[in-house]
Amino acid sequence: MKVLVTVKRVIDYNVKVRVKADNSGVDLNNVKMAMNPFCEIAVEEAIRLKEAGVATEVVAVSLGPKACQEQLRTALALGADRAIHVETEQELESLNVAKLLAKIVEIEQPAIVILGKQSIDTDNNQTGQMLAALTGMPQGTFASKIVINNDKALVTREVDGGLQTIELNMPIIATTDLRLNEPRYASLPNIMKAKRKPLAVKTVEELGVTLKEHSKIVSVNAPAERQAGIKVADVTELVDKLKNEAKVI
């Protein structure tokens, strides 16, 4: 059984985001980049499926500029067997990503595709669902547990009211929530070994996908800053302020 896992290169989650002066976007020059945290969870889950003997091969895929290969090497160091890089300099909207991934799914025929539920840059939360719709594979989104029994998968999902468990016919698409697992760190020997693992580079043209422009960013602005208020000395003052100044209780 093959697992396909997606990896996105994004701004490191510790970096303070700054909007560009011309309001065209967020400044990513000389900013530390990293694997999207939800993708780290996806890679970890794929590797655990292999360690548990459920999966036989883990294939990591990333789309974007050449630098994405850094994150693919990280996935390989963590335990993926091989990687596919779809190289493009174009900004990819989610639907175009889903279309490219659908092509990879068609070629690789994985039993399960694991994606992060959202990336911490665009916060869209949609690529996995779009890939499910395009491939006709059922989806287990926002997964906190994935159990595979032959031709069925049980996916427990984090939903607004609590947890929901659904049964899906394989093959499936899963998207990861925070508590699916705790990702490991790559060891130095594995980082060295990862350099020799296969990494195939493909182009959008090779995959035969026509990219369409569905939306455009008119502008990007910094949000309204919230000003710090005052410090109160004790609970009595706090209750007084809430009652008589803010009038919220």
């Binding site: 911490i120 916060d123 719709a133 960013i217 990007v220 949000p223 208020g229 005052i230 919220v248």
Partner: protein, 308 residues
């Protein structure tokens, strides 16, 4: 313009998130219809028919829709999209689960979590955990949108739209509901509560959340938590407020033992009044709090419950 809003409900009660979503639809303008898809959900359709400003309610009542499985909901919505210019759902876990696939099947983009309507094709949405606001113009014939409920007021409920019964049944057979663990609570839901008191890692353990509950009881508040508290196993995931949990904007938000990680601030910084209680006076939460109290929460939270 012809708009379809997907109602959020539990087959029994229409969720208030639907009312925020209809407000966004009315701001776009034109004809607004509401779809109630579920099982034994006639009462929900009747509640939806009272939403002011809508033209009609479509009801698809079938066991296939009982748990709103994406595989069954997507083809239904795609079928109903004929002639529509906009498809809207609240950015709840249900809306987020279903709508992107609908967009993909229609070969259009989804614009996620809009917080304002600039025009019929241009919307604002937060990116980078709310650290930037993007104004996005859709180039597609059908706009698929999820709506961040805190960005829009609830629409009034004083109408009487007609209810149209749909015969369509879409059961893919690819997915099946097995079970759910829904946390039953007498308290208001986080996303619609007027007052929220949340605990973080500083609470120390799950039992200590009873201190917050005592305050919540006095204020009729909902109880929330930071990601750190949920990750540590203090409380369940449905209580998480933040970038990837619930986005809230109550009248009053009381953050207790929460340092104020950017992921948490993303979920609550639009609250009207923010109170922070933390013993670390350098905690980032104080930089956005209207009222800060630097103190040991175990000392002052019981006092707060007493004085309310």
């Amino acid at each position: 313009m012809s708009i379809l809003v997907i109602a959020e409900h539990d087959n029994d009660t229409l969720k208030s998130a639907t009312l925020n979503t209809v407000t966004a639809a009315l701001q776009i303008g034109g004809d607004v219809a509401v779809l109630v898809a579920g099982s034994d959900c006639q009462s929900v359709a009747e509640q939806a028919a009272k939403i002011s400003g809508i033209s009609k309610v479509l009801i698809a009542d079938n066991p296939a829709y009982e748990k709103f499985l994406a595989e069954n909901m997507m083809p239904l919505i795609v079928e109903l999209s004929a002639g529509k210019t906009h498809l809207l759902a609240a950015a709840t876990t249900s809306g987020k689960n279903i709508m992107p696939g609908v967009a993909a099947l229609l070969d259009v983009a989804q614009i996620s979590e809009i917080i304002s309507v600039e025009s019929a094709d241009t919307f604002q949405r937060p990116i980078y955990a709310g650290n930037a606001i993007a104004t996005v113009q859709s180039l597609d014939a059908i706009k698929v949108l999820t709506v961040r409920t805190t960005g829009f007021d609830e629409t009034a409920v004083a109408g009487s739209a007609e209810i149209e019964v749909l015969a369509t049944v879409c059961d893919s057979g690819k997915s099946r509901f097995v079970s759910e663990e829904v946390v039953a609570s007498e308290r208001p839901e986080l996303t619609s509560a007027k007052v929220i008191i949340s605990g973080g890692r500083g609470m120390g353990n799950g039992e200590n959340f009873s201190l917050l509950e005592a305050v919540a009881d006095k204020l009729g508040a909902a109880v929330g938590a930071s990601r750190a508290a949920v990750d540590a196993g203090f409380v369940s995931n449905d209580m998480q407020v933040g970038q990837t949990g619930k986005i809230v904007a109550p009248e009053l938000y009381i953050a207790v033992g929460i340092s104020g990680a950017i992921q948490h601030l993303a979920g609550m910084k639009d609250s009207k009044v923010i109170v922070a209680i933390n013993k670390d006076e350098d905690a980032p939460i104080f930089s956005i709090a209207d009222y800060g109290l630097v103190a040991d929460l175990f000392e002052v939270v019981p006092q707060l419950a007493e004085q309310l």
